[in-house]
């Protein structure tokens, strides 16, 4: 039995897949989690243990208020709707018996506002007008006479009937809103409506995208930071912390790798210190460096520099010792050995180490931003998470992940550009290098010509 060649040779032990297949699988590795997320979010009969309320109502004698957007459990929702229906039945019965209680004007005003979520979703009224009673009154009229029809979500026939019944009572007094002319007797309440939904911690992809878009484009009140400013502030903390770690860590690491003296002097303590978690110093750092960015930068620094010293000293020791011997037989002095052999020799590996260590520094971002005065993206995550607005939290988490990932990819593709001799450069790296060469070669030629003059007799 022969298989189609598309299905053959996907599973070969220790053999690389062709480029197209590798690329395909790379895409799938990202699409698969998204597909699973969509599957759980958009298939109504999968999971969906809650009901997300679209139209809500207040119940007599119960202080718990559910508003549109809240979630209640699937088991509780029918009970909630039934209670409202029972109250409506009582109102109707009292109205027929002529025993309706009066003094319900204020209650009726609140009741009319139940339609507001439907009106804002359909963009009949702007969100700011959700308590504008004149506008809301007009919506009741339009729905009752059929001038407007709710489509997403549609009103149930039961609710549409209530809208018409209420409009009949309202229009009998006045067709324009005025508080004084609201009926004195209770109106009927809209029956709660909702759709199956997942718990609040698993918002659907479209909700996350929409919230993310809104948060990143929204105008913020004066004095608060825009998302872009928060983002840049977070990045600056990471990079400043990492930069300080590099300034201190790289020279010490190289010295430890080159001279046993420094290795024995520094490494035992560094090895011990790195086991103390950096966050344990957070209160100390705030006490010493006070509020502001300084303690945050210091935390990233402490979390990174000790690893850096150990990793770089190890990388330095891995340099082929025969290169040092060769340089010695060519007359290199100890100082020249370090500057002309050790440093250029370890650069490609050092670059890779720094790439990995930068990833390490990222992990300290959230903790660093929590200490002292909360700041940056983490402050936003903290605040929104506390309000359980997880649809606004996820975009930030994803943003942090994407930034780290993209940065690492860029840095790793630059490896070929910076160190063409350490392997075969990628086509992109090659093109980039030729471009740079084209710019630099006229300059060096000029430089050389100037140097030449005094030497020729």
């Amino acid at each position: 039995m022969s298989q189609h060649r598309l299905f053959r040779d996907w599973f070969l032990i220790r053999r690389d897949l062709p480029q197209m297949r590798a690329l395909f699988l790379t895409c799938v590795s990202f699409l698969l989690p998204i597909a699973i997320w969509c599957f759980f979010s958009y298939t109504p009969w999968i999971w969906h243990p809650d009901v997300k309320i679209q139209i809500s109502a207040e119940r007599e004698g119960i202080t718990t208020v559910f508003t549109a957007g809240d979630r209640v459990s699937k088991a509780f929702f029918p009970e909630f709707a039934k209670a409202v229906r029972d109250e409506n039945a009582k109102v109707l019965a009292a109205r027929e018996a002529g025993t309706s209680e009066s003094g319900a004007k204020r209650k009726n005003q609140k009741l009319l506002r139940q339609i507001a979520p439907i009106a804002t979703i359909h963009q009949w009224i702007p969100e700011a007008d959700a308590q504008n009673d004149t506008a809301i009154f007009a919506i009741w009229r339009d729905l009752a006479v059929g001038e407007k029809t709710a489509t997403n979500p549609a009103l149930t026939p039961e609710n549409l009937k209530i809208v018409k019944q209420n409009w009949a009572v309202l229009s009998a007094i006045s067709t324009e809103f005025s508080f004084a002319q609201l009926p004195d007797q209770p109106l009927l309440k809209l029956i709660p409506q909702g759709k199956p939904s997942n718990p609040v911690y698993l918002p659907a992809p479209d909700e996350v995208i929409r919230s993310g878009y809104r948060d990143f484009t929204a105008e913020v009140p004066a004095g608060e930071l825009t998302m872009k400013e928060r983002y840049l502030r977070s990045l600056s903390i990471i990079f400043r912390g990492f930069l300080w770690a590099c300034i201190i860590g790289i020279p010490i690491g190289i010295l430890c790798g080159v001279f046993d003296f420094f290795s024995k002097l520094f490494e035992p303590f560094v090895d011990f210190f790195r086991y103390m978690p950096a966050p344990t110093f957070s209160t100390l750092l705030v006490a010493v460096l006070l509020a502001g960015d300084a303690p945050k930068i210091a935390l990233v620094f402490i979390g990174t520099v000790f690893q850096m010293i150990l990793v770089i000293s190890k990388t330095t020791r891995l340099l082929d010792p025969s290169l040092l011997e060769a340089a010695q037989t060519l007359g290199a002095k100890p100082r020249q050995l370090v500057t002309h052999v050790v440093v250029p020799g370890i650069l490609p590996n050092l670059y890779n180490d720094l790439r990995i260590l930068l990833g390490w520094a990222w992990t300290w971002l959230v903790i660093a931003e929590l200490i002292g005065v909360k700041s940056g993206l983490t402050e936003f995550i903290e605040t929104q998470g506390r309000f359980r607005n997880f649809d606004r939290v996820y975009p930030i988490i994803i943003l942090i992940g994407v930034t780290g990932f993209v940065m690492d990819q860029i840095l790793s593709s630059l490896h070929g550009v910076l160190f063409p001799w350490s392997g075969k450069p990628s086509p992109m790296a090659h093109a980039f290098r030729n471009f740079i060469k084209k710019i630099i070669s006229p300059l060096t030629a000029l430089f050389r010509r100037n140097r030449k003059l005094p030497e020729t007799p």
């Binding site: 060769a326 007359g331 001799w421 030497e455």
Partner: protein, 298 residues
């Protein structure tokens, strides 16, 4: 086979060769080794790698050092280059005692040891740059040496783009660019395939002819040693001692055709017997029978 052919005594020299050796020993001594001893101390006791080794190499001489593995020939050359220090004894270059590595003694390693981050040209410039020459004069010098080893077309290539033979030529050019008194070569062609190795030997003789340089060449290859050298220093193992200093009676200039010259074969045989005494050769081992072997064939 070689035992069955009647060969002349290896000590017999043609008048021409005898005259050459006379001229050679009259030249000043470039490298003098006096009573060199190296002991490695370990927890299990001490091992003597070199025991009281003394010899001298004349200017413009090409001397090979050969010996069974473990005879300390690598240790010897590392001490001569200053990369290791002897337990006792002395190394003199042009009559001056030296310790530690220096630009007066160049070295070519078996593992190429080119700096991978530098182009061919930059590698060759390394020595002159370390000596403080300007990059312009170092560069023009480097070009000359690269031309000498025939790699002008590759001066801007990186080592990883070159073949093994080319890398070793760059390493030779790099060592020569420093203009050392003596050039040490530690099995430089050991990692190359047989054909490239022959080419490289011819190259080396060509370079040696054109450059005023004294060479001490470490090898374990008999043909290589006889083909290249004026004199061969044969070492014994455990402890490393000088067995004999053989004067090679093969006339120069050398060519591959001389591999079957009676004087060449006689010298080769003599050294071979010193390193592997005839009684010690292993008898043929019986054929290992496999379960599926056809008994008639064996």
């Amino acid at each position: 086979m070689i035992d069955s052919i009647a060969l002349p005594d290896y000590r017999e020299k043609s008048p021409e060769v005898a005259a050459r050796f006379e001229r050679l020993v009259q030249r000043p001594v470039a490298l003098e080794v006096v009573g060199l001893t190296k002991r490695f101390e370990s927890s299990r006791g001490s091992v003597t790698a070199l025991d009281n080794v003394s010899f001298s190499v004349h200017k413009r001489e090409l001397m090979c050092v050969i010996g069974p593995s473990g005879c300390g020939k690598s240790t010897l050359v590392r001490i001569l280059a200053g990369l290791e220090s002897p337990t006792s004894g002395e190394v003199r270059v042009n009559g001056i005692s030296v310790s530690g590595p220096g630009p007066d003694r160049g070295m070519v390693f078996q593992g190429y040891t080119l700096f991978p981050w530098q182009t061919v040209k930059e590698n060759v410039m390394f020595g002159p740059r370390m000596a403080g020459k300007s990059s312009y004069s170092a560069e023009s010098e480097a070009r000359e040496w690269i031309g000498l080893v025939g790699l002008s077309k590759f001066e801007n290539a990186y080592p990883h783009q070159l073949s093994g033979g080319m890398k070793q030529r760059v390493a030779i050019a790099r060592a020569l660019a420093n203009q050392p008194r003596v050039l040490f070569m530690d099995e430089p062609f050991g990692a190359l395939d047989a054909q490239t190795r022959c080419q490289m030997q011819a190259y080396l003789l060509e370079i040696w002819k054109n450059v005023d340089i004294t060479i001490v060449f470490i090898t374990h290859d008999l043909d290589e040693a006889v083909f290249l050298s004026d004199r061969i220093l044969v070492l014994d193992a455990n402890p490393g001692r000088i067995r004999e200093l053989v004067e090679v009676p093969v006339p120069r200039p050398r060519s591959e055709a001389q591999l079957f010259d009676p004087t060449f074969m006689a010298t080769r045989k003599h050294i071979d017997h010193m390193m592997h005494p005839p009684g010690q050769t292993q008898k043929d081992t019986p054929v290992m029978r496999l379960a599926v072997s056809d008994p008639d064939v064996i």
